[in-house]
């Protein structure tokens, strides 16, 4: 009898991992099915209004992308925007984290207040800004700037203004996230290297450069990775403010994929745009994760 029990237990043990993994598998199927369907549609000319035209075009949608002027621009804008946004947001986030890490009075209040933008849905954030950024004569933001002797700036109604506006709104909403990651990193750094450096009489600048930044690098790379993935596929802010305009200036791949799919119902073309965007995000995150691994092992050693 004991043998049977042991075998039974062994069988139980063998099943257990699968049982534990079952929800994950379910989730995986739930995620893979829409993805597979999207990939499949991207190989067809699926157009909701014209079911009779449906046929396989294989890579036709992808080949057509190359000759589509707006696609080339959208690709450039997607990548360019992501690079600038990550640079600005991680740079500012680092500055804020260093500031909040320092022993200054009232910093706990600032930390709490800083979380506010994170609690706002991005669409609401964007619409709030849109109202503030209204025309040069009516917007409250320009009114405020006038006291500083600045502006008025044509925020959403000009090409450069619209690009800058998207960056400002996106940064406002996501800066707290970056700052928090980096602040958490700063607070977890070991104290010994700092004491040793101080004993050796290192300047604050040298400490920042040779101790803080190298030790913090895994966190910085992590923040870059998160922000890069989000900035590449930014949509809500653009949709709620410029809808890709003016003159297509803020049309990125995500916006274009949305327009083809849900405004013009050309699912095949829309999905091809979406797949290119996905590839971009996957490549970027793979590269960045490799950096992160390296930085993490490096620091640990």
């Amino acid at each position: 009898m004991p043998a049977v029990t042991a075998r039974g237990r062994r069988r139980q043990n063998a099943l257990l991992p699968y049982l534990l993994l079952a929800p994950a598998f379910a989730l995986l199927v739930g995620m893979l099915y829409p993805f597979g369907l999207g990939l499949y549609y991207s190989l067809t000319n699926y157009w909701l209004q014209y079911p009779h035209l449906f046929r396989f075009v294989w890579l036709g949608n992808y080949v057509a992308l190359v000759t589509e002027p707006l696609f080339v621009y959208a690709l450039e804008f997607t990548v360019g925007y992501a690079l600038v946004a990550v640079l600005v947001q991680v740079g500012l986030g680092l500055a804020i984290a260093l500031f909040l890490h320092a022993r200054i009075p009232g910093r706990s209040v600032v930390r709490a207040l800083m979380l506010m933008p994170l609690m706002m849905p991005p669409v609401i954030t964007a619409l709030m800004w849109k109202i503030m950024m209204a025309s040069t004569t009516a917007g409250i933001l320009n009114y405020a700037l006038s006291f500083l002797g600045l502006g008025p700036i044509n925020w959403l109604g000009s090409i450069r203004g619209a690009m800058a506006s998207i960056l400002i709104i996106d940064t406002w909403g996501n800066l707290p996230f970056v700052s928090l990651i980096l602040l958490g990193g700063l607070q977890s750094l070991p104290g010994e290297p700092y004491e040793a450096a101080r004993v050796d009489g290192a300047t604050p600048r040298a400490i920042l450069r040779h101790i803080t930044l190298p030790l913090l690098s895994p966190f910085i790379v992590l923040a870059i990775t998160f922000r890069m993935m989000d900035a590449l596929r930014i949509f809500d802010v653009i949709y709620a403010t410029t809808v890709g305009g003016p003159a297509d200036a803020t049309t990125n791949l995500h916006m274009l994929a949305f327009q083809y799919s849900f405004q013009w119902y050309q699912m095949g073309k829309g999905m091809a745009h979406a797949v290119v965007l996905l590839a971009l995000v996957v490549v970027a995150s793979a590269v960045l994760l490799r950096f992160w691994n390296r930085a993490a092992t490096h620091t640990a050693a």
């Binding site: 909701l48 297509d248 405004q263």
Partner: protein, 468 residues
């Protein structure tokens, strides 16, 4: 169309959907039912069946919801509904219609949308229901009480490039929207500015308002999408060409680059650039309407019923200071304003078609539509009897010192669907609006930008198999 796009908070919240399921209230007879029972049809012929209805967030929808229990008591039909903001509504509707799932049985639609849905055969012609004496008491329902132009707008014979006003009726109009010029009468009077009757005069008036009153001379929609060209702009260009120029010709070649079109577009964009708001390129209908109501502009050529906002002192700083006029005309002196009606139609996938028609008949009957306007500000009435009702006259009669109703009624005589019927109307409009941006930002001359846009539309029409 699209003036109600997203409808206020609807746009704001974007993703938010309201699923309302109406529970049958305890059966109780009331006087309202007596009115409907005058119709010589058996309202209970589909009792026990159920309907699911897709509705766009809109004042008409607001007016319908509280009355639905009344319909359920009258007919014994159970009604469930889904209300969505406009953009989401149309996306979900196309998804449902294209799969023919019949999730939406009665739908909110209208002329240009019908072209898109009738082409693949997704929606039902309604004539067979109207002409069936078992289903419709024509004497009671009075189809001829609707403004003839509005019924015509919802008929289409299915021929790409023409045939509006002929063939089957695809939806019954629940309101009328056309396009007129609203201007600041106080400023025009004070500075002796002439109310414009041509596009050149309009540009001049805009310049003078800006110069003399220090506010924007004109405000208009300007986002890079179809609503920007769908109201004042298309009404203006069709009037400018005496109704002879169309965005696509008989052979379905796109003609944005026709010299008359180039000339008008140039004048319009120059006017907006010189005398319009700095954020024109980012303005939705709502922004434009609000800016005018806030006293920030001298003119707006857009939906007539925006007057309800301008004339409401709670929402407007310019109540009582607005004059109304027809869209500037062309050399022929006649105006050809565009037209849109929200209407109720029926999905072909509907299983309970008789029940669906009973609902449409009930919802578009004189009493229901009168209630929509009187109690819920559903403007402008699509039925003559509603427009002539004393309570409605009291509501609208004073706007612009009486000039509103006069202008609106005058306009309705010649207003018609401005677009050439074809299922890619939205796409064409999007491309058109984007070419206006190219011109506005001096990226290309009007001639070049419009020529490029024509080629782009031609390509889409070919790809969709509409044009050989």
């Amino acid at each position: 169309m699209g003036t109600r796009r997203g409808w206020l908070i609807g746009t704001l919240v974007g993703m938010l959907a309201l699923l309302g399921v109406v529970a049958s209230l305890p059966a109780q007879d009331d006087s309202a039912l007596a009115y409907y029972r005058q119709a010589k049809i058996n309202w209970r012929l589909a009792a026990g069946q159920s309907l699911t209805i897709g509705l766009n967030k809109h004042p008409f929808t607001e007016s319908l919801l509280p009355a639905i229990p009344e319909f359920e008591r009258l007919t014994g039909i159970k009604v469930e509904y889904l209300i969505l903001p406009e953009q989401e509504y149309f996306s979900k509707l196309v998804a449902d219609l294209s799969q023919q799932r019949g999730e939406f049985t009665v739908i909110m639609t209208g002329p240009m949308r019908n072209w898109q849905y009738a082409t693949p055969g997704w929606i039902m012609p309604l004539d067979e229901f109207i002409n069936d004496p078992k289903l419709t008491d024509r004497g009671w329902y009075r189809l001829d009480d609707f403004y003839p132009g509005l019924i015509a707008a919802n008929r289409w014979n299915g021929k790409v490039g023409g045939g509006v006003g002929e063939g089957p009726l695809y939806s019954v109009p629940v309101l009328a929207e056309s396009y007129i010029l609203a201007y600041r009468k106080d400023i025009f009077d004070q500075h002796k500015i002439k109310v414009p009757t041509t596009i050149e005069e309009m540009a001049e008036a805009a310049r003078l308002v800006k110069k003399n009153a220090g506010i924007d001379g004109i405000v208009a929609r300007g986002t890079p999408a179809v609503p920007t060209v769908a109201t004042g702009f298309i009404s203006g260009i069709k009037s400018y060409t005496d109704g002879k120029w169309n965005e696509v010709d008989d052979k379905l070649n796109t003609t944005f680059h026709d010299p008359r079109s180039v000339k008008f577009t140039q004048t319009w964009v120059d006017m907006v650039r010189a005398s319009g708001p700095s954020n024109w390129a980012n303005m939705t209908w709502y922004d434009a309407m609000e800016a005018f109501a806030a006293g920030q502009a001298g003119m707006i050529a857009d939906a007539d019923f925006f007057a309800a906002t301008y004339e409401d002192p709670k929402k407007s700083k310019i109540a009582g200071k607005v004059g109304y006029a027809l869209i500037p005309a062309g050399p022929g002196g006649k105006t050809y304003a565009g037209l849109w009606t929200w209407g109720l139609g029926m999905s072909k996938a509907t299983k309970n078609k008789d029940a669906a028609w009973l609902f449409i008949q009930w919802a578009t009957s004189p009493r229901t539509l009168l209630n929509a306007t009187v109690e819920h500000r559903n403007y402008n009435p699509s039925r003559v009897s509603v427009m002539n009702d004393l309570r409605v006259q009291k509501l609208m009669g004073g706007w612009g010192g009486g000039s509103y109703v006069k202008t609106q009624q005058e306009n309705l005589k010649t207003a018609r669907v401005a677009w050439v019927p074809q299922p890619e109307r939205t796409r064409l409009g999007d491309i058109w609006a984007r070419s206006l941006h190219e011109i506005y930002f001096n990226r290309a001359s009007a001639a070049d930008a419009l020529k490029k846009a024509s080629a782009e539309v031609d390509k889409v029409l070919q790809e969709a198999g509409i044009k050989k």
